[in-house]
Assembly symmetry: none
């Protein structure tokens, strides 16, 4: 299977939107052993789209497009594709019902008839159900002039719509068509830098094994693949021996999921107290469905008065050591565990910048305290980078510190 | 000038790296009135690169490549390009000196001779100085078989190297070649669906004006451009008349920045109380640098006990109406404003799913209460989609509700 991905939208070429869909699709394909032949990014324009189809189908038998399926005038992908393949349209009843139902839920009046454009599907194509938006995707099988099969898959541009459609509908259907799927195994390594993971992998490398690393905040994805199943099994054992508790368990792709699972098993409760991370840790925890089993809540104490009045940090602690100090972080975590009736806690206080730094307490200085039953660990970090980078580093470090404390890795 | 951008690297197609270079280059070009014709992403492979050159130069006279100029075995871009254009190599003395100097600074021994590969420049091409790395860029002018001029610009992949080279050397040289640069204006429209924005724009449309829309959670980017400066000024006035307070002010690109600015001017304080959004609103607020001027903090009250004990919601309210109710949302926002000493507040309670829904209170039911001084507004929403989509919709709706309350738009 040779795949090309065409991303459609002026905004991608104008630089007002970063193309995260390509990375998402590429990653999922690669996990099934497919490296796309190429990807094109084109404006919402007929000539460029026709040129792109010509080019992509000259090299590939499957083309996936993203974007341009919405209800506005610049959403022209579907019309151009239908014309390219010489197809008319039919109205899909399910898609129409979905569009009307979503509009009614908004409690707005005057349904704009033009929204129904989205229910038009090229003749001979199937709609792909969109559970988070109105524009269905399109699955269009055809043949080129020589009779070779061609598959066009069109998906909407918003990542929140595209991802469930691609992951739950498109990818399973594509996977069935792959002839010799590579055997592969994906690990998540928590609490270790990518360069260290790479170094530790050296003894396992051999020509029959393909290894890819991908660092994201909080963990490193370690991807092994091989056409040789027995070899792969041996290498998987090797990885487990090398990384031990740094590997997340099977059902987790995020360290925070692991924490929630560990606490749920023990029927324990979790709470956080955040200053410079400002809610990032709580929103990471609550992004996991079922977090309510263990998470009681969080106090975001941006103002010092909230630290003292709500969390019970002693005013003298702030006076003597400052709000950004190991002492304050420790009292925050103890305070939030008590106030929010939790057995495990995380507290973060620091200077995310770009303003607010001093010589003694520069931008990037962050104290993280974690608590699990009677044990309390507090660490000092000097992160670098932008405000966003510092906040994200503090988020992933704090989650990792709590995970290691619960697992007794210290 | 017709420009194509070719991004080279397996990692982009495997999804282990998100292509931020394209957005950077696209934005800079577009600010000078150029929308690239297309962009290609290809693996580090000769066949795909030759196909991409054929395709790009068949449509464009300028091709910019990124990636594949480094010293490792998969950095093959330069060799393939030189062979494609039938050129040999010369060694550039400045580039060689830069490579050796940077190595010496690292205080490592055994200079790897292969690093000097990077100083090889195709015959007839100019090096583009790299001030943050070792691989120089390449500026190669040539002619196609019909004598039409072709320009190939090759830049290294790491954004920290590419950006200064593109901004300070490549872009100024390209700008000199642009004949009629476009004038443009970017607006952010808050609290309005993309389809409504487009409908309201209808009376302003004319062939000399190019209009683009791009929806993101919380606002719609509305981009106008025209070669006719006087016309553009008139259309800008038209947009201001149509959208009035829905337009964010000049210095804001996010509704939350506007809220922070409004409250800062009035010396007022903001706090939030979150249940199903679980910290998303607080982290959106604190992502803005200087948020600490107005934001005192937040209480994430996932457990009902935190709603009653910390926020002061009456236990009878939860007993009689449930935690997901207009009554509870109202008491949450009043409670957090009092406890966290704030003049403005947001409270959200709802069911983000996928579990936890009932017939009366289905997944997606969300109550949002906002408060500004004595005024309190509470609304009921039925959002659809995944847990993530529901949380993000609740986030952007709540920010918008508070912005409209402060501006007296209700």
């Amino acid at each position: 299977m040779k795949i090309s991905i065409i991303s459609i939208g002026d905004e991608l070429l104008k630089g007002s939107t970063i193309n995260t869909n390509l990375a998402h699709i590429g990653q999922k394909l690669f996990e099934s052993g497919i490296l796309p032949i190429n990807s094109l990014t084109i404006p919402d324009s007929e000539k460029e789209m026709r040129d792109a189809f010509d080019f992509a189908f000259s090299l590939c038998d499957v083309v996936i497009t993203t974007g341009g399926l919405g209800p506005t005038a610049d959403d022209v992908s579907k019309d151009i594709a239908a014309s390219y393949f010489g197809r008319g349209f039919y109205e899909d009843e399910d898609s129409k019902a979905n569009i009307i139902e979503r509009w009614n839920k908004l409690n707005r009046k005057d349904f704009p008839a033009r929204l129904l454009q989205q229910a038009k599907i090229p003749e001979g194509a199937e709609p792909i159900k969109n559970i988070t938006g109105t524009a269905p995707g399109i699955w269009l099988e055809s043949e080129d002039p020589d009779g070779k099969p061609r598959l066009l898959i069109m998906l909407p541009g918003p990542p929140s719509e595209l991802r469930p459609m691609f992951d739950d509908i498109v990818m399973p259907r594509l996977r069935k068509r792959i002839e010799n799927p590579l055997k592969s195994k994906l690990f998540f390594v928590a609490g270790m830098a990518e360069s260290i993971v790479e170094e530790k992998m050296q003894p396992l490398l051999c020509p029959e094994l393909s290894v890819a690393y991908c660092a994201s905040p909080g963990n490193v994805r370690l991807f092994l693949s091989s056409a040789d199943n027995a070899l792969l099994r041996k290498k998987i054992e090797g990885v487990q021996k090398i990384f031990k508790k740094h590997l997340l368990p099977e059902n987790c792709s995020l360290p925070v999921e692991h924490i929630i699972g560990l606490l749920r098993t023990k029927n324990l409760r979790l709470a956080t107290a955040e200053s410079c991370t400002g809610g990032l840790i709580a929103s990471e925890i609550t992004s996991v469905s079922g977090a309510s089993d263990v998470f009681t809540g969080s106090v975001i104490s941006y103002a010092n008065k909230v630290k003292t009045d709500v969390l019970g940090v002693a005013p003298e602690t702030i006076e003597n050591f400052g709000a950004v100090s190991a002492e304050c972080a420790s009292e925050m975590v103890s305070g939030v565990c008590e106030k929010l009736a939790a057995d495990a806690g995380i507290a973060v206080t620091g200077i995310a910048g770009p303003g607010g730094g001093t010589k003694e307490k520069p931008v990037g200085l962050v104290f993280i305290a974690v608590k699990f039953y009677g044990e309390l660990v507090v660490k000092r970090y000097n992160f670098s980078g932008t405000r966003e980078a510092i906040r994200i580093r503090a988020l992933s470090m704090s989650i990792n510190m709590l995970r290691e404390l619960i697992l007794g890795m210290n």
